[in-house]
């Protein structure tokens, strides 16, 4: 294998691993940043105006949720296409690499869907609750 193709192979493998992390990291960033904004807003009384009947802190966190959904949803669609291409159109090229790619595409797609669901579930509650009511 030449250096160039070895580098390309390494890059492809790194991309496989990184694709797995899109969903969990998309959710993780939304979760931590959203939680910190919510905590900070409720502790310091910032972001307390209303927009379209919703508290501003809810609007900001929902906006963040939308961004995270775009990332995880996009990741899910992209990986679904990769998976379908390989799993339905038959295996091409080096069998070992293709097996691995199919596996990672399925894992990545499922994780993206799962974490997109987690984001939706988190955001839904915010539409019904009084955000900064302390309980």
């Amino acid at each position: 294998m030449t250096t160039t193709s070895a580098d390309a192979n390494d890059r492809a493998k790194r991309a496989l691993v990184l694709s797995v992390l899109i969903g969990p990291l998309g959710w993780g960033v939304f979760f931590l940043v959203g939680y910190l904004i919510a905590e900070a807003a409720c502790q310091t009384r910032i972001l307390h105006n209303s927009v379209a009947g919703l508290n501003l802190v809810v609007v900001v966190v929902l906006g963040l949720a939308l961004l995270a959904l775009l990332v995880t949803g996009g990741g899910a669609i992209w990986n679904y296409r990769r998976w379908r291409e390989r799993a339905w159109n038959g295996i091409r090229g080096d069998r070992k690499t293709e097996d691995l790619a199919t596996f990672f595409a399925l894992v990545s797609m499922a994780l993206n869907v799962l974490f997109a669901l987690a984001i939706v579930l988190t955001a839904l509650g915010m539409l019904f609750l009084e955000p900064c009511q302390w309980t």
């Binding site: 900070a40 894992v107 900064c132």
Partner: protein, 875 residues
């Protein structure tokens, strides 16, 4: 050769002669007269004698030591529980005092959470991973030795609190302010913080080793998509350990500083917050449950297919579930704080994550049930424990989803319903799989099967005893029985439920006693196991029972998820030495592994493979026996232990010995790079590293930097939390931090980074003189930055005792200075060896690793500088 069988047959395929490992004893014959297997056996053997016992580092020996120690702590924790159950068997009992009861529930919970479950899982991994992965050893066997000594002595230090009459009594969570200096004076809480703190270091050390073994030391061809589920589970567990235990160590340090030197992290009167402790603790505490449960499911996923006699249904989905569980488990910590008093919007994050985690758990359960229902189950003891696990864990999981709903949690919080829930999860979800794993793998390592009748007796006593003990707690909890209270009034009507629970607890304990009897009985009288008593599918069953010191003489090649079931030739023989190709061909990997079974025979050679695809990357020398890891472990426990009694001189002595031991541990033991190595490299197109692996070293250093980064994140989380608690920042009219000196120090650090890069570049070019010059300059620049920052801290207008802001300012600064000091120490030793001519253009792993550490420290420095010195100017 193509895979022919998708499912195992009832009869085990015959194992060809050349595959068996020859078990030999050390021979008195001259080296030249030994066979290849005998030479390998000697090269991989631990040294004999008493000193040899301290030096021993073989993975099976260390794994057994860790598991045995964890089991002893399990028995100790169980005895604590039985004493509590006797107290609660009747209303208003005087068997124990309230104080003794508090001590016992603290010791019970702490033992089971810190000293039993996680170490047991790590011991399991160190014991069986090299064989399951098809390699010869763990990547850092000395780290395993250090981990065991630290764990054992840390645990003993913790239990010595009984002798000192200062037993911790604030629960396994040690909530502030109860655990702080005002409400827990004396040394009991110092025992908790320091003894368990050192045991946590042991857990992290083993975690690092497990990650590297799984990612870089698999058999050729074992890509991530073919890796046994057990390895996936251990990988998720090991990463979770790094992310969970590190914040706890930082939190414990902050609490100890509050207790010992008057910092104010958890004191609300000085701007601190007791709720900060709860956050830090549960960031560890909730994933802690999953990092016990995840490896347990790994064991289940290995046992179920073998005893169902079919492959695991939904392999890929189980991997997805494990990875998802690992991530989601870190989004649950406030799940334990719903009654603390939080905004509703905050709780939605954690309630949602709590419910979501039911999905991956459900995926796994359905995968196991499908496997069992579509298989042909054999109800041997390991399988019985798996069935017990499925029943009890599902019950615990359902109540877990119930308490993730905030209103329900408010009703049952701190009641016996929660005690029932988490015991169903932790005993049902963790100890049942542990026993399944022991019955399953013990024959591989002892050479004898555990007695089946005694095993079944053990199972039924354990299963019935467990349910009798813990099911009534759901009811007593609903009826209002609070946890952590040493007695209850007769008129509460709780007597009968508690009496039943106590009877169940003793039946469960009887089950454990039967297991212990079975173990000792079967070690002498058990039936010989043979190599593959269960017709297993993974690589460990391809070796002898017990395995040879070297594990595999010839490393296997994997092209299936179930190599012993699917890599079968047309003649019915298992063939794990050929790649998947037409007969007659021989690939480079096959030739390489054949050659590696015969060379080198004078040093402990193991194979590094690609993290993703499992392709051969490097042959390296695994480090050999040494006394220094044991010395380092003893010294570190001395450091922590002496601080319990405030013997600072002993702490300093311990630190010096620890530092010396680290130097001894890493002292180069260079082997010449001979023509043999050069020829082997050229012939098989693979680097040979007789003086340690560049790859493993780099990955190890990357993990160390990750750990230090997690620790810094924990400090910064504390900083921001305290910031939120204080409307004015810096509080109490303190001036903004001085900028000039820290800015100069930062500039010096950046310059040191650039010179480090130049130095490493030169070693790659073979310009060793410039490399040495660069190392020296880096040391001078770093020392300059250190001096300036020490000067800066000496000029500060406040001490750490003033308020929480001052405390966290000093803590983060102190942490950064410590990292810089370590970087300078590392640089100094690399310089000494560099001036001795140890490094060459090809052999310079230490130079590159120390450079990586410098880059990490600079990145942390810049982040800390921005947050401590710049951010307050903009808020």
């Amino acid at each position: 050769m193509t895979s022919t069988a998708s499912q195992p047959t009832d009869a085990a395929p015959s194992v060809p002669e050349h595959m068996s490992n020859l078990k030999v004893r050390a021979s008195d014959r001259p080296w030249d007269q030994l066979t290849t297997a005998e030479k390998l056996e000697q090269v991989w053997a631990d040294p004999p004698g008493v000193i040899g016992w301290f030096k021993a580092l073989q993975n099976d020996r260390i794994g057994v030591r860790i598991m045995s120690t964890a089991f002893l702590f399990f028995v100790a924790g169980g005895i604590n529980a039985l004493l509590m159950r006797v107290q609660l068997a009747e209303a208003e009992s005087t068997f124990l005092t309230a104080q003794r009861y508090n001590e016992l529930f603290t010791m019970h919970g702490s033992t089971m959470m810190y000293l039993f479950a996680v170490p047991m899982m790590e011991g399991f991994a160190i014991l069986i991973l090299p064989l399951i992965l098809g390699n010869r050893e763990m990547p850092f066997p000395r780290l395993g030795v250090f981990s065991w000594f630290t764990f054992l002595l840390g645990g003993l230090l913790f239990y010595s609190s009984f002798i000192a009459g200062a037993v911790p009594d604030t629960g396994w969570f040690a909530y502030a302010p109860l655990s702080g200096p005002e409400y827990s004076p004396g040394i009991a809480m110092d025992y908790w913080l320091l003894a368990l703190g050192v045991a946590e270091v042991a857990a992290i050390a083993a975690g690092v080793e497990i990650i590297l073994a799984i990612l870089r030391m698999r058999a050729p061809g074992m890509s991530l998509s073919r890796m046994p589920i057990y390895a996936w589970a251990m990988l998720v567990m090991a990463f979770s350990i790094l992310f969970a235990f590190t914040p706890l160590i930082v939190g414990s340090l902050l609490l100890e500083l509050d207790r010992r030197i008057g910092t104010q992290f958890f004191n609300p009167q000085a701007g601190g917050s007791p709720v900060l402790w709860q956050h830090i603790f549960w960031i560890f505490g909730h994933p802690e449950v999953y990092l016990q449960f995840i490896p347990a499911t790994g064991i289940v996923s290995m046992v179920v297919p073998i005893f169902s006699r079919r492959s695991l249904a939904g392999y890929t989905w189980v991997v997805i579930a494990l990875v998802a569980t690992g991530f989601l488990s870190f989004g649950l910590w406030v799940h334990h704080m719903f009654t603390v008093g939080l905004p509703q919007i905050s709780m939605t994050f954690f309630a949602a994550a709590g419910m979501m985690i039911g999905i991956p758990a459900g995926i796994q359960i359905f995968a196991w049930i499908t496997t069992i229902f579509t298989g042909r189950p054999v109800f041997k003891v390991p399988f019985l424990f798996v069935i017990g696990f499925l029943i009890t864990f599902v019950l615990g999981g359902i109540t877990g989803i119930m308490v993730s709903a905030v209103p329900f949690d408010w009703q049952v919080h701190d009641s016996y319903f929660v005690v029932a829930h988490f015991h169903y999860v932790l005993i049902g979800g963790v100890t049942f799989p542990i026993f399944a794993g022991i019955y399953h793998w013990a024959p591989k390592f002892t050479g004898r099967l555990l007695d089946e009748r005694l095993g079944k007796l053990h199972f039924w006593l354990y299963f019935i005893g467990f349910n009798v003990a813990f099911f009534p707690m759901h009811i007593s909890g609903f009826l209002g029985m609070p946890r952590r209270v040493y007695t209850y009034q007769e008129e509460m009507g709780l007597d009968i439920y508690n009496l039943i629970s106590t009877i169940g607890a003793f039946v469960l304990a009887l089950g454990v006693a039967v297991f212990i009897s079975n173990w000792f009985y079967s070690r002498r009288n058990g039936r010989p196991a043979g190599d593959n008593p269960w017709n297993g599918d993974t690589l460990e069953w391809a070796t002898t029972s017990p395995p040879a010191n070297y594990g595999f003489a010839r490393l296997p090649i994997v092209h299936s998820r179930y190599p012993l079931w699917e890599q079968v030739s047309s003649s019915g023989e298992v063939d794990i030495f050929e790649e998947d190709h037409e007969p007659g061909d021989t690939t480079n990997t096959e030739r390489l592994l054949q050659a590696m079974s015969e060379w080198p025979l004078r040093w402990r050679a193991a194979l590094i493979t690609g993290a993703v695809d499992g392709e051969p990357v490097e042959i390296f020398r695994v480090s050999g026996p040494s006394i220094w890891p044991a010395v380092a472990g003893v010294a570190l426990v001395t450091v922590f232990g002496s601080e319990v009694f405030a013997l600072h001189w002993l702490t300093i002595l311990g630190l010096l010995v620890f530092a010396a031991a680290l130097v001894g541990w890493h002292w180069p033991n260079q082997l010449p790079y001979t023509d043999e190595e050069r020829e082997f490299e050229e012939k098989y197109n693979i680097p040979v590293r007789p003086n340690g692996s560049l790859t493993i070293g780099r990955w190890g250093m990357a993990l160390a930097i990750l750990l230090l980064g997690i620790a810094l994140s924990s400090f910064l989380f504390s900083y921001f939390y305290i910031r939120l608690e204080n409307p004015i920042w810096p509080p109490e009219n303190l001036p903004l931090p001085e900028l000039v000196r820290p800015a100069i120090a930062t500039a010096l650090m950046l310059l040191a980074g650039a010179v480090t890069w130049w130095s490493v570049n030169n070693v790659h070019k073979g310009n060793l003189g410039r490399m040495r010059l660069g190392l020296m300059l880096v040391f001078l620049l770093g020392a300059g930055a250190l001096g300036i920052m020490i000067w800066e801290y000496l000029q500060l207008p406040f001490t750490w005792q003033l308020n929480a802001y001052a405390s966290i300012f000093w803590a983060i600064g102190g942490y950064m200075l410590l990292l810089l000091l370590v970087a300078l120490g590392m640089n100094l030793f690399v310089q000494v060896w560099a001036w001795q001519g140890l490094y060459t253009e090809l052999d310079n792993a230490a130079v590159q690793n120390s450079a990586l550490f410098v880059y990490g420290v600079i990145a942390f420095w810049i982040i800390s500088f921005g947050i401590l010195y710049l951010a307050p100017r903009f808020t």
